[in-house]
């Protein structure tokens, strides 16, 4: 599998919308586990009040990511392949917590 970053800018009206989407995403991700693995996401506070995400996935192809998005009804703006990972510090505790 390859690692990809997926941009979903301003995809949801509210955090609640996003929570529902996350549940669908998890369910679909389990069904497609051979092709797609969700690693983590950062939730974006967009300037217009909507909510977006930057997601890190592992997948067998860009099409697999799109199939997953269609099945879970998630927007996809851009898929970028990750060439390397540089971890300076572990993720801080969740911002909202």
């Amino acid at each position: 599998m390859q690692t990809y970053v997926i941009l979903r800018r301003g995809g949801w009206q509210s955090a609640d919308d996003l929570h529902e989407a996350a549940a669908r995403s998890t369910a679909e991700g389990e069904r497609m586990g051979d092709d797609v693995r969700w690693i983590r996401s950062y939730v974006l506070a967009e300037t217009d009040g909507t909510v977006g995400t930057v997601c890190v996935y592992q997948a067998t192809s860009p099409e697999a990511i799109r199939r997953h998005a269609t099945a879970a009804d998630l927007p996809v703006d851009e898929i970028v392949k990750v060439a390397d990972t540089v971890i300076v510090r572990p993720d801080p505790a969740p911002v909202a917590a």
Partner: protein
């Protein structure tokens, strides 16, 4: 898990068949869960079971032989008559279509032979309509990325009637519970066994104070505590099938008491395959060989109809018995081949050849030729070529000119498949020279082969010339196959050149092939009918033959042609803007190891283009692969799809300077062959990339007809209308992008709706540069993927459908041809999985497609 399975069964009772893959690591308890579930259901449902063998080379159709024995009737007759996978699937479908709900259990399908996997695939595609719950168990840890079962599961993945259920190992809490009355530390026990129930059972049964390192150690510890007689019995049973062995009752009872063996309906079996493996591996090599010898002798003494050649070959190799391998492996191979289990046939022929250093020249040549043919059928083209080359050497030493000439002809065909076209021509001519002194069927086939090579290079005169030689000789000999082969080449040439009457010739050829029982040639006619449609995008007619062809090839196991047809579907969907479906069809071609380079090039080009148009990553690895397969062949049909895809991808990435290199060779070839559509398409990309300045005469060539020519001469409106008429929304949008601001804004909307992010960005930039207001900085916010993946145009058609308009009326309102609307409607029905227009509208309303309109 049992609750989930019970839910699946309820669906079945309600009339919706289900295929469930029950997955988990070895020893996680799949069989145990299955047994409990079946016990609770036996009263209400018919149950049939089949299992796949853990043999290195499984017997063909193994699990369905078991099932047929308990089902009887038509299915048993088909299996007993060595039916092909599609015949078995059809008989099974008839049986499962009955009123009574049926549970069909297929155990350990990760070991299934190729023929069984084909049956499973066909069954999975029809399961929704059957009143059956098919439960297929498999070890998830055996499912490597290239495992053939994965291809089958991938193809069925989109069906809502197919589900995968994972069985997880035991949790720490459960392990703690189990360890309570023992002296083991629950944490250590959990860490070592990973919660694997089989491992845990073995550890607990072995006793002692230390936790064994592996399941194997735990099993052997348990064996070590048996009395010598019982130990001898399990060791023998680890190699020799129970029904061939007489085990003293006391010893058998002890083995059963120990839990190493469990009783089954008619015999006893190891508690788990891992148990058997552990014991077999612990045997000394000489005693293992002796046991294989004993099994071999016992099997050989059975009556002929009870002897399974795959088992005989397995034990013959285990016994190291050269003579027995020579007898049984080729038999097992030809049986596997005739049942459609070609991978198993390859393994059996290879087994025979491993022990074949004392064979005669002729016997070696024959084995190698059969190995070569089976490798070709499984898509192992390099290995097929290697075996055929070796066979050719043996034929040469035999001094048999006809055999050598015929082997050369086959060698030539394989060389072409792998793209070594120059060598293929050399071998084809050599075959003709070799055979001309003895005119017979072999020579007629050699003429046809040469004609085929010229046809593939689209070189008309010699195609006809050699086909004519073949036809004359074939008619004189009364040989159907070489005649049909020759006629096929010229008919295909007529299709490429768009000669009037070509379609009728192909239809006649189909009838003739069917009448002569030549399925392979009959299947080829479907490829002929659709393969050239992308040139000129005459999809409406070609589509009529696509579904029929897929059905024909699927139901006769003609996988080579089926994959060609799928590659065509990928290309046709790409051109009509149905990109998800294009990629799905292409993926089936790419993932299937049986795909030959030709359909593979098309599929790779489609995937690469869709990625490039969406501005997705990983464009070039697939396009490089397509180019690698195409570039050296000199065949336009291979080079053109790869060259066009690479030119467009380079342009979309803003690297127009690369386009010239991609198109120049293909353009020369297309011009030499007078293939105007392709020449136009290639010249168009050169023009797009700014190549007009470098060679004005060539690019404004008057012979570039159709929409490409219109676009290059600045008539974007006419070009867009032509593309609309050809149902090519992406190209129509690109044409409008060359127009005034209004047209450009429309193009931007259309490209965004298609998900064509790369071209949309180019158009947006163009608009901004012209000073247009309110153009977003790149189409950042793509809309959520349309449910069911309908295109913008299909959504328009759907709206009118919902208002009750007929196709002719819709055509009038949307300014489309009737044919185009027909196509949109059938595409909508397919995507919404609806059988009628009413159902489609209802489905669209349900998923919110019609809400906000």
């Amino acid at each position: 898990m049992r609750a989930a399975l019970a839910g699946d069964l309820e669906d079945v009772v309600a009339g919706h068949g289900r295929l469930v893959f029950l997955e988990g690591e070895a020893g996680v308890g799949k069989t145990a869960v299955l047994r409990l579930f079946l016990q609770s259901q036996k009263a209400t449902s018919r149950v049939h079971e089949g299992a796949c063998d853990p043999l290195f080379t499984p017997r063909p159709l193994g699990p369905f032989v078991d099932v047929a024995a308990s089902v009887g009737g038509e299915l048993q007759r088909v299996v007993a008559a060595d039916g092909k996978p599609y015949e078995v699937a059809t008989a099974l479908t008839h049986y499962l279509a009955g009123r009574e709900p049926t549970i069909l259990v297929l155990e350990d399908v990760h070991w299934a032979d190729e023929a069984s996997l084909d049956v499973l695939r066909l069954l999975g595609r029809r399961i929704e309509r059957l009143r059956a719950l098919v439960l297929a168990t498999l070890r998830s840890d055996e499912l490597t990325r290239t495992h053939p079962l994965r291809v089958v599961m991938g193809e069925l993945a989109s069906s809502s009637a197919v589900a995968r259920r994972q069985l997880a190992p035991l949790s720490l809490a459960a392990v703690t519970q189990l360890a309570r009355s023992t002296g083991f530390d629950p944490g250590a026990l959990f860490a070592r066994t990973g919660g694997n129930p089989l491992f845990l059972t073995e550890v607990l049964a072995a006793g002692g104070t230390e936790i064994p390192a592996t399941v194997r150690d735990a099993v052997l510890a348990r064996v070590a505590r048996l009395t010598p007689g019982a130990r001898d019995a399990v060791e023998k049973l680890s190699v020799i099938p129970y029904e061939l062995l007489e085990v003293p009752a006391d010893d058998l009872a002890e083995c059963l008491d120990s839990g190493l063996l469990t009783p089954t309906a008619t015999a006893v079996a190891f508690r788990h395959e891992l148990t058997r493996e552990a014991i077999e591996e612990s045997l000394r090599p000489d005693s293992r060989a002796a046991l294989h010898r004993q099994a071999l002798r016992s099997l050989e003494s059975l009556p002929a109809e009870a002897r399974d050649p795959a088992r005989l070959a397995y034990h013959a190799e285990g016994a190291g018995d050269r003579g027995a391998v020579q007898i049984h492996a080729p038999r097992a191979a030809s049986r596997s081949a005739s049942l459609g289990a070609h991978r198993e046939a390859v393994a059996q022929y290879a087994r025979a050849l491993r022990f074949g250093d004392q064979l005669s020249e002729l016997a070696s040549a024959k084995l190698l030729e059969r190995l070569s043919f089976e490798c070709y059928l499984t898509g192992e083209f390099d290995r097929a070529l290697e075996a055929q080359a070796a066979a050719l050497e043996h034929r040469r030493r035999l001094g048999d000119p006809v055999g050598e000439g015929d082997a050369l002809r086959t060698y030539s065909r394989l060389l072409r498949y792998t793209g070594r076209v120059d060598e293929a021509f050399a071998a084809a001519h050599a075959a003709v020279r070799q055979l001309e002194p003895t005119p017979g069927r072999e020579l007629a086939m050699a003429y046809s082969n040469l004609s085929h090579l010229y046809m593939s290079s689209e070189d008309a005169a010699p195609t006809v010339e050699w086909a004519e030689e073949a036809r004359a000789l074939a008619e004189q000999l009364g040989d159907d196959e070489s005649l049909v082969y020759a006629l096929g080449n010229t008919a295909q040439l007529a299709i490429i050149a768009r000669e009037p009457g070509a379609a009728e010739r192909i239809a006649e050829l189909f009838e003739r092939s069917c009448a002569a029982g030549l399925d392979e040639h009959a299947g080829r006619t479907f490829v002929m009918r659709v393969w050239w449609a992308p040139r000129g995008r005459s999809y409406a007619e070609a589509d009529e033959h696509l579904e029929e062809g897929l059905e024909y090839c699927e139901s006769r196991g003609l996988d080579l042609w089926r994959l060609y047809l799928l590659a065509y579907r990928a290309r046709a969907c790409l051109d009509r803007g149905i990109w998800d479906e294009a990629v799905n069809a292409a993926r089936l071609v790419i993932d299937d190891q049986r795909s030959s380079p030709m359909p593979r090039i098309v599929a790779l080009s489609v995937v690469g283009l869709v990625r490039a148009r969406r501005a997705d990553p990983d464009v070039w690895p697939v396009l490089e692969e397509a180019w690698r397969l195409a570039s050296s062949t000199g065949e336009l049909q291979r080079i053109e799809p790869a060259a066009v895809a690479r030119a467009e991808a380079a342009w979309l990435e803003g690297r127009p300077e690369l386009v010239e290199a991609e198109v120049v060779a293909a353009l020369g070839l297309a011009r030499a062959r007078h293939r105007e559509w392709i020449a136009g398409e290639l010249a168009y990309w050169r023009w797009r990339a700014g190549g007009l300045d470098t060679d004005p005469e060539l690019d404004t060539h008057p012979e570039i007809e159709g929409p490409f020519g219109l676009q290059m001469s600045g008539q974007w409106e006419l070009a867009a209308a032509a593309w609309d008429e050809l149902d090519s929304p992406y190209e129509a949008a690109l044409a409008r992008a060359d127009g005034d601001e209004g047209a450009q804004r429309r193009a931007l909307d259309e490209l965004t709706a298609l998900g064509a992010r790369a071209a949309a960005a180019i158009v947006a930039r163009r608009l901004r540069e012209q000073g247009a207001q309110g153009v977003p900085r790149g189409p950042r916010r793509s809309t959520r993927a349309s449910p069911a993946g309908l295109t913008a145009r299909e959504t328009d058609v759907l709206e009118l459908l919902a208002e009750g308009f007929r196709n002719a009326e819709i055509a009038e309102r949307l300014f489309l041809s009737r044919k185009t609307v027909d196509h949109h409607v059938s595409s909508i029905l397919r995507k919404l999985m609806a059988r009628s227009r009413g159902e489609a509208v209802a489905a669209a309303a349900r998923i919110g497609l019609l809400e906000d309109r």
